[in-house]
Subunit: 225 residues, 2 copies
């Protein structure tokens, strides 16, 4: 498949590389895909020129990446995701699976971050993205694990679960199929896109478990009686 | 041990009954322990007169319950926990293990609830209780599972974890010993009391899993690689 990553930081690079290994064509979309920009280190990640050389993936503008894609991943910073997706263009997202991987984290008071007020409580980033782009088929997924675990769930041992939320059952099934390619085996369907409130809410726990455990190689499993 | 439950709703009654089955003496503390009050149904629970008759536990004022206890459980409504613990009395909590089971849930916009703003984000109910009662040895625990699972973890199958946060390592060990009496086997230590931000943050996920799964007989397990 032709897949666009909106956002070229660590998440976009790791997920993009993983999707290329599965045989997909991946274009990372960034705001200004100039040669100078591609040579610069990205947020907690390598320069995109290096990523392209290592993976064979392309880099383009957000609009070009989204226009050419069948599936779009939102791998932008949560605080700027709505703006980034507007740059990608509503018409370029219409009818497409839009996998929202972003988390609305507020680092304004340092570490640890907490959830951005305007995207949490009785709302979530995922549902605000669905509301802003009503023709996209938004699925919140992959946002509750580290980049490395997204594309290699065996790193966290097993069993552990990928949480999904979205209004479109077929879209969620497509995400599960992609995830199975990475080795994901168990899924927790949180229902419609308001379930993004639940999976985004995990982030303070995720950060704490990362700090207390000293490794990002973990995930949650829902154990039912 | 002599144990006080501050709050006579469903959580206090279930945990109190469970502790009595383990051989402890339990007194539930409520605001106004009149005969009329004991005859009234409590929040999602039976009248306390029935609870007493069924378990042999006593009911008293919050201050009397706390004064006579070696260990105190905060089983009050999260929104009113600071007020309830002030009624219990700082002097009656000093030096004691205070197990904070409450969650700061905001039902003002109906169901599902979300975390109360003043007790979430870069703070938590657990750490505000520790700050308000600095001589109490506060441990946040049992707040991430249903009442029935608190005292009978086998209801959720296994393995699954009890999350603990607190500044006092010995106090956390005491909570683990009590929990082992109920059958708890695995514990996740979230560090000092600021770890309450992480375990309280689970609640939106808990509520969603309860709704989508149709049963409270579940819990989370942290799977590490």
């Amino acid at each position: 498949m032709q897949i666009a990553m909106i956002g070229g930081g660590a998440v976009g690079q790791a997920l993009g590389a993983g999707l290329i290994r599965l045989g997909h064509q991946v274009v990372i979309g960034i705001r200004s895909p100039s040669e100078a920009e591609l040579a610069k280190p990205r947020s907690q990640a390598k320069p995109l020129a290096e990523w392209s050389a290592a993976t064979g993936g392309r880099v383009a503008s957000m609009a070009e990446a989204a226009a050419g894609a069948e599936v779009v991943f939102n791998t932008s910073n949560g605080a700027g995701s709505l703006a980034a997706l507007h740059l990608a263009g509503a018409e370029n997202l219409a009818g497409k699976l839009l996998v929202d991987v972003a988390n609305p984290l507020d680092f304004s008071q340092g570490f640890p971050p907490f959830l951005i007020r305007e995207f949490s409580g009785p709302t979530s980033l995922g549902e605000q993205i669905q509301a802003a782009f009503p023709r996209a088929r938004v699925v919140k997924a992959f946002n509750t694990v580290a980049n490395a675990v997204m594309v290699d769930p065996a790193l966290a041992g097993g069993p552990h679960d990928l949480f999904l939320a979205g209004n479109d059952a077929a879209a969620k099934a497509e995400v599960q199929e992609i995830a199975r390619g990475f080795g994901w085996q168990t899924f927790v369907d949180l229902g419609d896109i308001t379930g993004a409130r639940a999976s985004e809410a995990i982030l303070p726990l995720w950060v704490r478990l990362f700090v207390t455990g000293g490794s990002p190689a973990f995930n949650l499993h829902v154990q039912r009686g």
